[in-house]
Amino acid sequence: MHLSADPGVPGLFRLETGAFVTACALAADGGATAFSLGDGRVLLCDVQTKTVTATMPHQGAALCLTALGPAFLSGGDDGRIVLTLASGEGHELYRRKGKWIEHLAVAREGRFAAAMGRDILAFEPGLSDDGAPTTPVTLGPLPGAAGGLTVAAGGRMLVTAHTGGLTLFDVPPSSSAGQRVEAPGGHLALAASPDGRFVAAATPDKAVRVFDLQEQEGYLLEGYPTRVECLAFDHSGRFLLTGGEQAVVLWDLMAPPEERGKAVAFGAFEHGFLRVVAPHPGLPLLAAGFDGGVVFLGDAARRTAQPLFTMPGDKVSCLAWSPDGRFLAGGSDAGAVFLLDLIALAKA
């Protein structure tokens, strides 16, 4: 199995997997990209040869995926966390029947954390001397199930959102209770600015709550026609990009308070909502995935975005850049996956 070159778009390679693509990630060393699927598979694709190796780490849906060095971590609705090496070899790191592993976040020095309902599992790096996985420390319980989990401040802070606000933990965690930041109502999708100053969380009632941890204030960004499913900060940490609209929505969080509630919408799409937004790790570029499987590339500085290609499916379900920013990977709810080589695209 391999990704095939798309005749229409230079540098674009595609494959149909036949299952909901729940997440994608690219390894830090640039060697492999991985796609987690709703049927429990994780597909590993060699970035150079485009050869695909299928693994089956989960019985059920693989709900989340992230790169951990050259390998990949996945969590599933079977309560398992599995480390899959680039070779395809898998190591089960955790198992808890009847629970879901919904979010994973990698911190510094190989530490990572997983969200399992109201618990956060904090893992130390590596395997123990006898090759067995190390036992995680359980943090929490949170007031409600984690709607999102991410790291900030160079991997020194772990942030989770839930009913009633946020909980922050340092890495490695000094207390299992963490530091609570209270805010009413539910909080789902989550993003933190790289410096850890801002945290933004989508609420169930079509708004985004911003927490300014430096100024210790919070406020709501409103006016969305539908619930926001994706949030991301650009590499500068100043601009928040969100879905919830038939366009990319951009908020300037450093704007003076009186102008704070003014959004800029660009990359308008007539036929559906923005489902995934992925800012480039180093440039003002961004990728945006809409309903209908349409992938846009854009420029957050110039406030423009245009459609580049369309995948089969009702919506784009995931997008991720390689750490060096050369490759973009993504997938759709109907099982399409792609890998885009930006250098090949730019040359053409």
């Binding site: 709703g38 079977d78 009847g98 199930a145 009632d205 619930r227």
Partner: protein, 318 residues
């Protein structure tokens, strides 16, 4: 992608929800269900597809005091639809759960609405103990008023006269639901699943029992139902404005409402359903030639004023 049907199973403690659930799962139907429960560990269901949901109810910041959703369901249903091996989702509530945030989640959340379909609210009642529960616990009444299907379980434990009395009692509370009797949850699967109770586009007529019900229900702890019939055509715009305004004001007391409206000059039925202040109206199936065109509606709620409702509808006549 096709929407996955979700059946909500509710009922007071000990009514027989779990027995019914086990029966659905053990039947040889070749279908694959995920089961969402609120009391994990207490139910003896051995399935890999049991999901433990901890109720997270929060009110919506939309100026509607009675609008609340179940955040845990938004999360769990969006997770379940990622696996595409499911034929349905069965959602078992706790015995004390209020079903309205569950229903409102399906009305309010776009992602849940896109990916899943609320098939029906099925309420299991203990034929022996329901009259006592209804007298003392508001939850027992709420579970009846939100139901599309009422299963009168443990029917073998009471005699026919008492069974008929319980039936009459729940019929007064909820004239639009179907009522079936059962012993240890022995209800055919096709009665429970695939009901499409919330699909307005298919609504042809309201439950026949509705029309037989007394026009103003008798009172059980202030909960009652009001059935309305109007044989004059209705001005569609005026009616929609009236209904919207009525629910905005009184929605806190309205558990459910549903109706088919004969809109003047329109070949199609105007159909509506509401849960508290949330209202959905759409143009439904066209009237057939020679079919009697009547406007019929039912309101179930607290402290309903039948005269006020009737006058409000009459004022919308074209």
């Amino acid at each position: 992608m096709a929407q996955i049907p979700v059946t909500v199973l509710t009922g007071y403690l000990g009514a027989g929800k779990t027995t019914l659930l086990q029966r659905i799962l053990s039947e040889n139907h070749g279908r694959r269900f995920a089961v969402v429960v609120n009391e994990f560990g207490e139910i003896g269901i051995d399935s890999d597809l049991v999901v433990d949901a901890e109720e997270e109810v929060y009110s919506m910041n939309n100026g509607c005091v009675c609008c609340s959703v179940r955040g845990d369901l938004i999360r769990i249903l969006s997770g379940l639809v990622k696996r595409r091996d499911l034929d349905g989702i069965l959602l078992e509530t706790t015995g004390l759960a209020d079903p309205s945030p569950i229903i409102q989640t399906f009305f309010m959340d776009d992602a849940v609405r896109d990916a899943t379909l609320l098939d029906a609210v099925v309420t299991v009642l203990d034929a022996l103990h329901f009259p006592g529960q209804a007298a003392s616990r508001s939850e027992a009444l709420e579970q009846v008023v939100y139901a599309d299907l009422l299963i009168l379980n443990k029917a073998d434990l009471v005699d026919e006269a008492r069974l008929a009395a319980v039936e009459a009692q729940v019929r007064r509370l909820n004239p639009q639901a179907d009522i079936v009797r059962s012993v240890r949850g022995d209800v055919p699967l096709e009665t429970i699943l695939g009901r499409n109770s919330f699909d307005l586009s298919r609504l042809l007529f309201l439950s026949p029992a509705l029309m037989d019900a007394p026009s103003a229900g008798q009172h059980d702890a202030d909960v009652s139902s009001v059935s309305l019939t109007l044989d004059q055509p209705v001005d569609a715009r005026r009616f929609q404005e009236h209904l919207g305004a009525y629910l905005a004001e009184r929605g806190g007391d309205i558990y459910r409402c549903k109706g088919i409206v004969h809109a003047a000059g329109q070949p199609q039925r105007l159909v509506f359903q509401g849960v508290h202040m949330l209202l959905e109206t759409t143009w439904g199936v066209p009237w057939k030639d020679g079919e009697e065109r009547l406007t019929r509606a039912v309101f179930i709620g607290r402290n309903l004023n039948a005269d006020e409702l009737r006058a409000g509808l009459a004022a919308c006549a074209a």
